[in-house]
């Protein structure tokens, strides 16, 4: 039995950096203006680091590659820094599919550089419709930007998790988990808006005690199945929950929001994004104050 990866209580998210805001398009635009300079992003990550947040949970957005470069070049400054990659950045694929068609888009994301063998493998995998091999190659392509960085947990984004879940393509979760473990020595993580349903499938596949990141907030925003079912699921089922969208995009006051999440048993980590040192400090302090030790 492998030892479970310990996760920090507080993780830092990246929506604010890439113009994602569920409440206001204006606010999202203002954020993408502010963070178009890499330095503005690094300043916020530094502020979070100084507040004791050492894990950055980030999409495999092209711009994250620049962030990775910075952390690679300045290792001594952040000796314990950890990335939790979340893949893929879905718009990248959606745009490629729009432009090139599905199969051609897939081909474009498979590795071209490096060994000829990789290309051959990609071609063969495509032709034989070998989803395990294709998934492995796609994961490797996404992981390239994190080369040499600490990535103990690797997530699959909710748009893909939930698409596979809806389609009933269960094997893909197994392929993802296996590849992430074998190739990167990492724990697979699953982001979803449909936690109870996903757990049924992961249980069936024998993926034991999975890390599952989903919206967990007092008002039930994007918690499919409802607040009550989520509360029971968190209390009773064997998995390692990470809470996101805790503030329900700002619909709740921070204290009320954090209080609710911290009251749920067994939530291991809370991920949030913020743009100012003051907000980071306030939310981090609230989580520290209201957290009870997680029973293991």
């Amino acid at each position: 039995m492998r030892e479970a990866v310990a996760m920090d209580r507080v993780l830092f998210g990246d929506n604010q950096f890439f113009g994602v805001n569920h409440m206001s398009e204006e606010k999202a635009r203002a954020q993408s203006m502010r963070f178009q300079d890499l330095q503005a992003i690094l300043d916020v990550l530094d502020a979070a680091y100084q507040e004791g947040i050492r894990t950055f949970m980030c999409t495999t957005h092209d711009r994250v590659a620049e962030i990775c470069d910075h952390f690679r070049a300045n290792r001594e400054q952040y000796p314990d820094y950890t990335f939790y990659p979340c893949m893929p950045y879905a718009h990248k694929y959606a745009n490629a599919v729009t432009e090139h068609g599905m199969v051609e888009a897939l081909r474009k994301f498979l590795p071209e550089d490096g060994a000829l063998g990789a290309m051959m493998k990609g071609g063969v995998a495509l032709a034989s419709k070998d989803a395990r091999a294709i998934m492995g190659l796609l994961i490797d392509a996404e992981m390239k930007m994190f080369h040499g960085l600490h990535t103990p947990v690797i997530f699959i984004q909710n748009v893909i998790t939930d698409l596979l879940l809806g389609l009933g393509m269960k094997d893909a979760f197994r392929f993802f988990a296996d590849h992430v473990r074998e190739r990167y020595g990492a724990e697979p993580g699953f982001i979803t808006m449909n936690t109870p349903r996903l757990l049924d499938v992961l249980d069936d596949l024998g993926i034991d005690n999975p890390i599952v990141c989903s919206n967990i907030n007092k008002i039930g925003f994007r918690m499919c199945g409802g607040v009550e079912l989520y509360e029971q699921t968190i209390a009773k089922r064997r998995f390692r929950p990470i809470a996101m969208s805790v503030l329900a995009s700002g619909a709740l006051s921070p204290r009320e929001a954090v209080e609710y999440v911290c009251r749920q048993p067994r939530i291991e980590s809370i991920v949030f994004g913020a743009s100012s040192r003051a907000n980071i400090r306030q939310t981090k302090a609230l989580i520290d104050e209201l957290s009870v030790p997680v029973p293991r």
Partner: protein, 357 residues
């Protein structure tokens, strides 16, 4: 499930997750895709729509094929007595649309088109406000839709084929037009039409026009799918009346009332802002947005309840096709408001964008 492109796959995932629906089979011409789905999910797939209809006993079909195929497929499905959910735009020729509306209504079959904005909480709220009378006499509506779809010149695909129609009008503007129709009803005429190309060689990347509603009310439509400053499609609708204004996008609905009004007892004088977090009803399964699940659930409930006059019916989608048709007629210099057949052949837009065309 007929057609498994980007929208088709997304619909399939949602339908497949619906507790009240059993997906019997799917149909797509891409053998690659159907092989993968069959291999990994056990889905029974056909390459041919007629064979699917012959081979299976069905209650309903979801059609997400290229727009030019809609009319023929919808007709076959209705003729066999099947309920139909069809992706937008409904059809490319108003006469086809009229025939299919009549057929669906005569056979009392559930018929719905995938205009998902009608299931977005903030747009529903704007429609409620507009219809309540609280804004006073309405005098203007403006819809804007921008996004990053065509960002460089390209040739050799459907975009270089002039008489295939398509472009931003059918693939983008239709959503904005339908949202306007949803909120204030269809216009009686259009003028000042600009169908411009930004990057595409022969088809429109931008659509601008004035809409006329009678009783002194006007509208403006402004659509551009060559705008990279938007991360994804962004649509905003504003409606002005003598007593105030409402502005809605996918995330929020802002209401300003000069005076409180009995038609909207829950909205006070001055500003009221409602966000997606409190306007959105929970769905049983989430993929990409509640509205996609909500419209499928609505379709399923319509079948259960025998509701044939619900939301986003063929009849209402035909009104949207009609406006697109008026815009095209104006653009060609034909009689304003005339209902000439839309685009000579068809829009292959969506399909070709998915599969490279």
């Amino acid at each position: 499930m007929v057609g498994l492109g980007k929208m088709g796959l997304s619909h399939h995932a949602i339908v497949n997750a619906h507790p009240g629906i059993k997906v019997v089979a799917a149909c797509d011409t891409s053998a690659y895709l159907t092989d993968v789905l069959t291999k990994y999910t056990g889905l029974k797939c056909y390459a041919d729509f007629d064979r699917l209809l012959e081979g299976e006993s069905l209650d309903a079909v979801v059609i997400s094929t290229p727009s030019k195929l809609h009319a023929g497929m919808v007709e076959k499905a209705l003729s066999r007595g099947l309920h139909v959910f069809c992706e937008k735009p409904f059809v490319l020729n108003v006469a086809d649309g009229e025939r299919l509306v009549a057929l669906a209504e005569q056979k009392r079959l559930v018929n719905q088109v995938g205009y998902h904005y009608r299931f977005v909480g903030a747009f529903q709220e704007a429609a409620r406000v507009a219809r309540s009378g609280a804004l006073g006499q309405l005098h203007h509506i403006r819809a804007e839709a921008y996004g990053p779809v065509v960002l460089r010149p390209k040739g050799g695909t459907w975009r270089s084929a002039k008489d295939e129609g398509g472009g931003a009008l059918f693939d983008y503007a239709c959503h904005a037009i339908d949202a306007m129709n949803f909120m204030v009803g269809p216009p009686s005429a259009v003028s000042g039409v600009v169908l411009g190309s930004v990057f595409s060689r022969d088809v429109d990347d931008e659509v601008y026009c004035t809409l006329h509603y009678g009783e002194g009310m006007s509208g403006q439509l402004s659509v551009n799918w060559s705008d990279e400053s938007f991360r994804k499609m962004s649509t905003k609708v504003s409606i002005w009346g003598r007593n105030g204004r409402v502005t809605a996008d996918r995330q929020e609905c802002q209401i300003y009332l000069r005076e409180a009004h009995p038609g909207l007892p829950d909205v006070r004088k001055g500003w009221t802002v409602r966000y997606t977090t409190d306007l959105t009803e929970e769905v049983w399964f989430y993929l990409r947005g509640e509205e996609y699940s909500a419209q499928i659930d609505y379709f399923a409930k319509s079948i259960e309840q025998g509701r044939t006059d619900g939301q986003s019916t063929f009849r209402s989608a035909l009104e949207t096709d009609r406006v697109a048709s008026m815009i095209l007629a104006q653009h060609r210099g034909e009689v304003p408001g005339s209902q000439a057949p839309v685009a000579a052949a068809a829009s292959q837009g969506l399909w070709s964008r998915l599969f490279g065309g």
